[in-house]
């Protein structure tokens, strides 16, 4: 939950009066809030915390970080609540983190 994940902004729009958009996290697309990076444009990369773009990042470091997070197996756990829930249930049953 505390981990920031780099994503590529692929769409920008307004929703409920807020500056929102979609970001691609190595194939997983999520809606994100862009209120804190109002200048960001489609194609830019940002570090996203729990659905909020917080800081811009260059493409190269974004890609490197994504590869690393994928290796560590954290990407899906962070982005997909169902996966997170399933993981918690699994640990409760057999005690293994990932």
């Amino acid at each position: 939950m505390c981990l920031g994940i780099p994503g590529k902004v692929i769409e920008i729009y307004e929703r409920d009066g807020a500056h929102m958009g979609k970001a691609d996290f190595d194939g997983i697309v999520k809606e994100i809030c862009l209120e804190y990076l109002p200048e960001i444009e489609v194609g830019d990369y940002a570090i996203v915390h729990v659905g909020f773009a917080i800081t811009r990042l260059d493409e190269e470091s974004a890609m490197e970080t994504l590869v690393l997070m994928k290796q560590m197996g954290v990407l899906k756990l962070e982005l997909d609540p169902d996966a997170a829930l399933a993981a918690e249930a699994r640990i409760a049953l057999d005690g293994e983190h990932r």
Binding site: M1, C2, L3, G4, D16, G17, A18, K30, E31, I32, C33, E35, Y36, L37, P38, I47, H49, V50, G51, F52, I54, T55, L57, D58, S61, E64, T65, V67, L68, M72, V74, L77, E78, L79, D80, P81, D82, A84, L85, A87, E88, A89, I91, A92, L93, D94, G95, E96, H97, R98
Partner: protein
């Protein structure tokens, strides 16, 4: 050198390690504040790759671990109420309260939902006008801008069925508490990179000066951590105590100004009790006067909470860097991720869980250097 091959750039890692080794002349104790960094250090065996003079101790930067027990109990009580939809980050589900956890409440029929973002909880409230939707707003400065926005949007949309149980914690007062403790061993800090992406790092300068400790803003990837350690060792050996930024690609001096403006509007500073550690003055955020109506602690009257903490768990000492997890008697025996006695064994960012998952069962265990 089992671990080194797994680095993204083993050669760069080797160069950084060589520089650290060439610089260090005596024993130094430094603390990484962020639980994400702890996880990365143990997973990649960074502590084992470093020269023995450099000792890393793990800090309190796991929000799941330090959320106070009475707040967890309050969350459990609210989540059990009929008509309530209780939304939380997944990490909080198995954190032990006095007699159960959120997972248990869910399995007993409570409507507990895991969300990715606090805005998801805001949407659930929009879609369920006849239900009370409560979001468990915890975390350090990293999750705070998101939580703040959810409350702000609930206010601008006039939602009367959305509230937040807020238990935010702040890094600089925690560093101050560690430095001023009579038992402190920490001589330098690796500051949490993404906390600084939000807040900047100007707040750390007075701490570095007052306690004469280098504070180096550090990322959480293995190479970032090595670079942070290298900069810290250089400072320590030169007798300097400055704030330095070893993570410039994601951190600006003043952080994110838009986020900070929102934070200043939605939250106000409060004293906060840290689980296992105790009260740290000015170390938390609560909803400001203006947003009081959205505070679940006010909306729901919860009485009769009697907190009961495990008598064996030493997570407070773990969180302050006084002991390593495997020095706790219960580690890996009475206490495992499946049956955790303390929150530090639950969260993947908790030091006890990191030690357990990467097989650090005894003090000497780990990869050969």
């Amino acid at each position: 050198m089992k671990y080194l091959d797994e680095f993204r750039d083993p050669e760069l890692a080797r160069t950084l390690l060589d520089q650290i080794e060439a610089t260090v002349t005596r024993h130094w104790v430094m603390m990484e504040v962020c639980g994400g960094q702890t996880h990365s250090i143990i997973r990649n065996g960074i502590d084992k790759l470093l020269p023995p003079e450099v000792e890393l101790v793990h800090g309190p930067g796991c929000p799941v671990c330090v959320t106070p027990l009475d707040t967890i109990d309050k969350a459990l009580a609210i989540a059990s109420q009929p008509g309530v939809i209780f939304c939380s980050f997944g990490d909080m589900l198995r954190v032990p309260g006095s007699d159960r956890d959120l997972f248990r409440v869910k399995s007993e029929g409570g409507d507990v939902r895991v969300v990715y973002s606090p805005l998801d909880a805001f949407r659930i409230a929009q879609q369920n006008p006849d239900r009370q939707v409560v979001f468990f707003g915890i975390g350090f400065e990293t999750t705070a801008p998101a939580n703040a926005m959810a409350v702000h949007m609930a206010k601008t949309h006039g939602l009367t069925n959305f509230s937040m149980l807020v238990s935010h914690v702040l890094v600089p007062p925690a560093i101050e508490a560690i430095c001023s403790s009579p038992t402190n061993r920490v001589q330098a800090f690796l500051a949490a990179g993404h906390v600084c992406s939000v807040m900047g790092y100007a707040d750390y300068a007075p701490l570095a000066e007052k306690y004469h400790v280098p504070i180096v803003v550090t990322g959480f990837e293995p190479l970032d951590i090595l670079e942070g350690i290298r900069k810290t060792v250089l400072q320590l050996e030169a007798g300097r105590a400055e704030v330095e930024n070893a993570y410039p690609r994601a951190v600006q001096r003043d952080g994110n100004p838009d986020a900070r403006r929102m934070l200043a509007d939605v939250f106000s500073v409060t004293d906060r009790n840290w689980r296992g550690i105790g009260m740290i003055p000015g170390s938390g955020w609560e909803l400001s006067e203006k947003y009081r109506d959205f505070d679940a602690a006010y909306r729901f009257t919860v009485t009769g909470i009697v907190t009961k903490e495990s008598e064996i768990c030493r997570s407070g000492e773990v969180l302050q860097g006084l002991i390593k997890p495997n020095q706790c008697e219960a580690f890996g025996t009475l206490c495992t991720p499946r049956k955790p006695l303390g929150a530090t064994m639950v969260s993947t960012e908790g030091a006890c869980a990191a030690y357990y998952n990467y097989g650090r069962f005894t003090e000497s265990e780990g990869a050969p250097r």
